[in-house]
């Protein structure tokens, strides 16, 4: 009997509760995490921010021939508070860069960035212009680079699918 009394210390109780919590988390976290990640993969809503001329091809990608809504990507969504994807459509000028960062900061987690077009990757054709940033790496953490000037809509769609592949390998963070 003495032994049981010795075992029932507050410290041991804490350890027991912690173990139970771990068990519960293990029971819930993995399948739920998988389900949530699956939901995130199929529901990428891009922010409506146009930075340069690639927005034409971004618009074409949502048109009837390419139709990104097949992949659950709704274009031209209203507010950035409900969006998860930011497609940087082309050149980032020095005037646009602070606004782009502001948009990124205002979006809720989790959020993903696609750099669309040569200008968004390296500055592209405007490598020697005085008002253009050489790529957006210094502004945003980029997930997927989609090269082209401008990329064809197929390329953009493949970029979105690559992002889905990447998200599949990411661990879904606990729901915030």
């Amino acid at each position: 009997m003495v032994m049981i009394k010795e075992l029932l210390t507050p410290h041991n109780a804490n350890v027991f509760v912690g173990k139970l919590g771990d068990l519960l988390e293990k029971a819930v976290d993995k399948p739920l995490g998988y389900a949530i990640n699956w939901g995130r993969i199929w529901s990428l809503w891009p922010v409506h921010i146009e930075t340069a001329c690639c927005s034409v091809e971004f618009g074409a990608a949502s048109g009837p021939r390419y139709d990104v809504e097949r992949f659950g990507i709704i274009e031209a969504f209203g507010s950035l508070r409900q969006c998860d994807l930011i497609v940087v459509q082309g050149t980032i000028t020095r005037k646009m860069a602070p606004r782009l960062r502001l948009v990124y900061d205002q979006m809720p987690e989790p959020k993903y960035v696609i750099a669309m077009g040569a200008c968004a990757i390296t500055g592209g054709l405007y490598f020697d212009s005085y008002n253009v940033l050489p790529g957006i790496d210094g502004v945003l953490p980029v997930d997927i680079y989609v090269p082209g000037c401008p990329p064809r809509p197929e390329t953009l769609i493949q970029g979105c699918m690559l992002l889905q592949e990447k998200m599949k390998r990411m661990k879904a963070r606990k729901f915030v």
Binding site: A52, R65, A76, T93, K95, Y126, S129
Partner: protein, 377 residues
Amino acid sequence: MSTQLPPGLQLEKVDERIMTLNVGPQHPGSGHMRIIVQIDGDYIVACDPDPGYVHRGEEKMAEYRNYITNIPHLERPVIHDSCNILYPYVLGAEELLGIEVPERAKYVRVIAAELNRCVYTLYWLAIYGIFLGHSTMFMWPTGDRELFIDLLEKLTGARVTHAYFIPGGVRNDMPANFEDVCLRQVGYFEKRIAEYADVFYDNPILISRTADTGILSRNDAIRLGTTGSVLRASGVDYDVRKKEPYDVYDSMDFETNILKAGDAYARSKVPWLDMMESCRIIRDALSKMPKSGSVRTKLKPNPKGGDTSVYKRVESGRGALGCHIVSRKKPEPYRVKLSVGSFRNLIAMPYLLKGEKLGNMPSVYWSLNYWPVEADR
């Protein structure tokens, strides 16, 4: 203290009734620019456009490249109207370098320019539709636009950025059977464009919403120096293709569409009517063009211009597009200035939006046939 802040952000002492709205650059109804709107209730009391978010210094870059290498980046301001924005530059360079263009190349240029005008106008129309909350009108033109993109891809090899016009003609000849495919798709499009009237232009809600809003009278249109569809919707008969025909436009059979009303509805209807004329021009040019012959004059390596300046202009999808090239006996132009239709129409925006309702802002703004990237250059 307030002078240090950027325009539109000054902490002015204003009436408490007035609310300042920043429409853009992250706003579904602004595009690549910011419009600082001050509203009193539902009425706009002041509007200050703030472009420049895509200012990439094209004109400065043009001073460091020679006449040929300038071509790819000068078409970037309007990639979906790239033939037309290159047109004045190429015409000017030809005059400076003293190059003759073969007859067949002139017809190919006209066909490419008109196809590209349709591509531009359809995209513009799509955005106009979504700005008014009509999502079907976004999708239909976007889908039909692909037809013309297919044609241009067949002709030039690229989807939107063609770099097709060069000093001395065009880059390559038409592929075989282009004429048949072109006629077939244009014929389909002419049937299709009539359906737009059913779903969009004859829609009673659209008419009651855009008619009598943002009226630009004939005198004001001239005074503000607007151009293109904005000018023609106000009743001014001015089309560079008619008034100062370049290449072979003087032998083409087409009309200039003029509407008298000068409101947002008329401004939205003129480009649509222009697309029908474009189809006519394409048919006409295909029938009149020489069936064989060269399409480009070979250039000397690194050609130099004279010690002079030229100003050439064409009619693009957004209006007269001028290019002022100053040359100083060098392979590079000394100064290239693009006078673009969007930048000229921008001046009408604060004028038209003042006193309008907030709900009319998107329709009036986009009816100005404005493409922010082009205005910023």
